[in-house]
Symmetry: C2
């Protein structure tokens, strides 16, 4: 419907460890859940290595195409943490030691009686003009530049930063969803479900097969931006399931009689 507000987003997960299999990403699913609840449509995710050229290319592609970009990873203190440099390069601005971040970190390490090493100082580097994303877990801030939100890869820190970022975002009309358990496989429901989808173009109907005990069943999810459009399509999905059940009951009775 024309009065719906659509806000789009992409995520860029950065790290060799995600591509080698060493680390199984947990941040994509977490962000997807929260954006969906906020009415922001996550349209694309990319995972790239700790490689400046790869990060710059992906970031520039995504930030031009979607309202928001969220990155994870590569903002720690070691040599493979090159996200701040890459983002600066993508925006064509210098990557600098941020004074406020330096002060925050210096104070935190003094409190903990730890040395504020050259490596730790790296975590204060960010593109000139960037705005902080507070890190209540381990102090070193993420940052925002343009429509890009740069966050840590460690899930506890990523999640804390996302919590700080979400309230600042422009959100759209949330996509509501209705999940209907269907005991029949996709092969059985495919044709009638296509007809329901065509009759309800304001909804997006997905069917998700499960394979348990050598048998497929399905979860049918009806998505839309108003409860009324979802309920209308959902009612037809339920009628479809009932109709399949009745047809099967009749077939079984027939074969019992035969």
């Amino acid at each position: 419907m024309s009065q719906d507000i659509v806000v789009t987003a992409a995520m860029l997960a950065i790290g060799d460890e995600l591509l080698s299999g060493r680390t199984k990403d947990k941040n994509i699913g977490h962000l997807a859940d929260l954006l969906t609840l906020s009415g922001i449509d996550l349209k694309e995710v990319r995972i790239v290595a700790d490689d400046e050229e790869a990060i710059v290319e992906a970031l520039n592609a995504l930030r031009g195409k979607y309202d928001y970009v969220f990155t994870s990873g590569g903002i720690g203190p070691t040599h493979d943490d090159i996200t701040a440099d890459a983002i600066s390069k993508a925006f064509g601005v210098p990557c600098e030691y941020d004074e406020v971040a330096m002060t925050l970190l210096a104070e935190m390490y003094r409190r903990r009686e730890m040395e504020f090493t050259e490596a730790r100082q790296r975590m204060a580097r960010m593109p000139r003009g960037a705005v902080h994303i507070a890190n209540p877990v381990s102090t070193a801030p993420g940052f925002i530049i343009g429509n890009v939100h740069v966050m840590a890869g460690v899930p506890q820190v990523f999640q804390a930063m996302v919590d700080n970022v979400l309230p600042t975002l422009r959100t759209g009309t949330p996509v509501l969803s209705l999940a209907i358990a269907c005991p029949y496989g996709e092969g059985e429901i495919g044709t009638p479900l296509t007809a329901i989808q065509k009759a309800h173009p304001e909804t997006s109907i997905g069917s998700y097969p499960r394979y348990v005990g050598q048998k497929f069943s399905t979860e049918i999810v009806v998505r839309g931006r108003s409860q009324a459009v979802i309920d209308a399509a959902g009612a037809e999905v339920r009628e479809m399931i009932d109709a399949i059940r009745q047809r099967k009951d009749i077939a079984e009775n027939h074969s019992a009689e035969a």
Copy 2:
């Protein structure tokens, strides 16, 4: 080293459910693990919606850039399964009912005394000229066209198809890795670790922070294509950890004496 054979790959995971958070992807990590073991470098992953334009654009970008592309999702029987059409479009060939796939599926449904519905017949569609990837779980085949391997999204089926595909691939010199547990955080090891990385350019050294009990520790992973280069860098990493430990012991003794 120049005699190393490098084979690159990308993965394209297809499905609205991955972007809405409904489904937490399990296929990326699984493929990453197996490619790493096979000596194939997974360089990039993209997740896109069940949207023809998005699939075509991502596929064409990836297939021109890497030796292999692996896709997951969207080859089932329902209206939101549009991967076969999108791949055909990307290659500029017609999407057709494959005769062998039709026969395989027809026989399977006959055996199970189930109707070979119009929806189920959709699973026999693939780009003209594609080669099958056998599906021992639920029959409907994946397919290969050019350097693109199209597989199911249901993890059991995806995994079975990957097992069938892997032995057919050209593989590179495997990347070996050595993981070293380090009780110190990245801020402590960052500077000396950078020096070790610089001294061992044939290795790729990653450090992966863990945050447990309000304290950071690190796993340091040294990767390389020969055991000798890994061992040399690994020995220096262990020396670095010992040196930090000794420095801390001395500092503690000093403060105990004071």
